[in-house]
Amino acid sequence: MTKRDKFIIFCSIAITLCLIVGIVCISGISGSNSKFLSYRVPIILISLLAVLAVYFSRIRKDKYEKMLNSEYYQKYETIRDIVMNSQLSNNSKKEIKEDILDILISAQKAEKSVDNVVNSPVEFAENIIRSYLRPERIAVLTLLDGIMFSAIFTLLASCVLWLENVRENFFSTSIDIDVLVVIFFVAFIVIPVSKAFKPNQSIGAYTLIIIIAFILLPGIITKVFSGNEFIEQLYNGRVNMIPNIIIFIIYLIVVPTCIFLKAYIRKLLR
């Protein structure tokens, strides 16, 4: 299991614990009744099952992966993780995974030392990705992912806010500017940077920075800049992201357009 796998399992446990503690605290405040339990117990059960699902998805091996001994599997796991986290298409990823398994199983059968076959799994995986996609194309694909993510979440946030008050006109729903900042921050910084980490790199420091950025920084900024009109507008202001039907249609078109552009970049511009 790579450090990335351990980190993902740890995060799923931490989120579940936070959820359970939150629910228990709320039950303490509101008092227990049957209606309360009827929908909170299933949430706790689903979150626990999600942790198990994450755990088993990380340790699961297919029948060919099981054929590799521990030394070979360790190298294979690193290569697979980098390829699977890359900007390659799902078909390319599947093809590469099969090719690597065939090469490693053949080398293992020939009793070759794994270090003679793959000296640096990270370098090997990066060379494979480069043979499919040039680095500048990877940057464009990452940017398109960011645009898709921000469009989807802005749309979702607007829908949720509108659902809170359905009588209001959908096109007059506005979102807090700080929520938008978080959406763009996640789309264009957090996700691309986290994808750049190698499976066995420790991402503790990065996580700490993100936590500080998300939780502490807004508090610190508002405290330090209290009275500053711009900062106060940033934290208290709201903006209407979908003011009319044309913008709404543009939001709906953004996702398929980005998917089409990604497929075009991957296939035709190799």
């Binding site: 590469i96 065939d102 090469i103 053949s106 080398a107 003679n116 076959v117 090997f124």
Partner: protein, 109 residues
């Protein structure tokens, strides 16, 4: 032999095309062929080259069941690959003649 140099990579590409022109082959077997003729290469060097040649349209692949693991990819040359091999052979002959001439001149001096 420093395998990281662009020259070796270029020569390897040409040699892989030549090997695959003679016989269609899967990745691991190609590595063995190159090792047998004296190239100090491993799977991690050859597989990205095969993938690059395939993506450039110089190689085509045919998937067949393998006796050990998942389906195995057999590589062979496309028409573009054959043209690229001819280009490589022309370039190689020219470079080889120039280098030999310089080396022989050096010996005669």
């Amino acid at each position: 032999m420093n395998n990281d140099t662009q020259i070796i990579k270029g020569i390897l590409e040409g040699c892989i095309l030549k090997i695959l022109e003679q016989e269609e082959m899967y990745g691991y077997k190609t590595v063995e062929m190159l090792s047998n003729v004296g190239f100090d290469v491993n799977e991690a060097t050859v597989y990205p080259i095969l993938a690059r040649l395939q993506n450039k349209g110089l190689l085509k692949t045919d998937k067949r069941p393998s006796p050990y693991g998942p389906t195995r990819k057999y590589y062979s040359l496309t028409n573009e690959g054959k043209e690229s091999l001819n280009d490589f052979q022309d370039t190689w002959d020219r470079i080889k003649n120039i280098v030999n001439k310089i080396m022989e001149d050096d010996k005669n001096d």
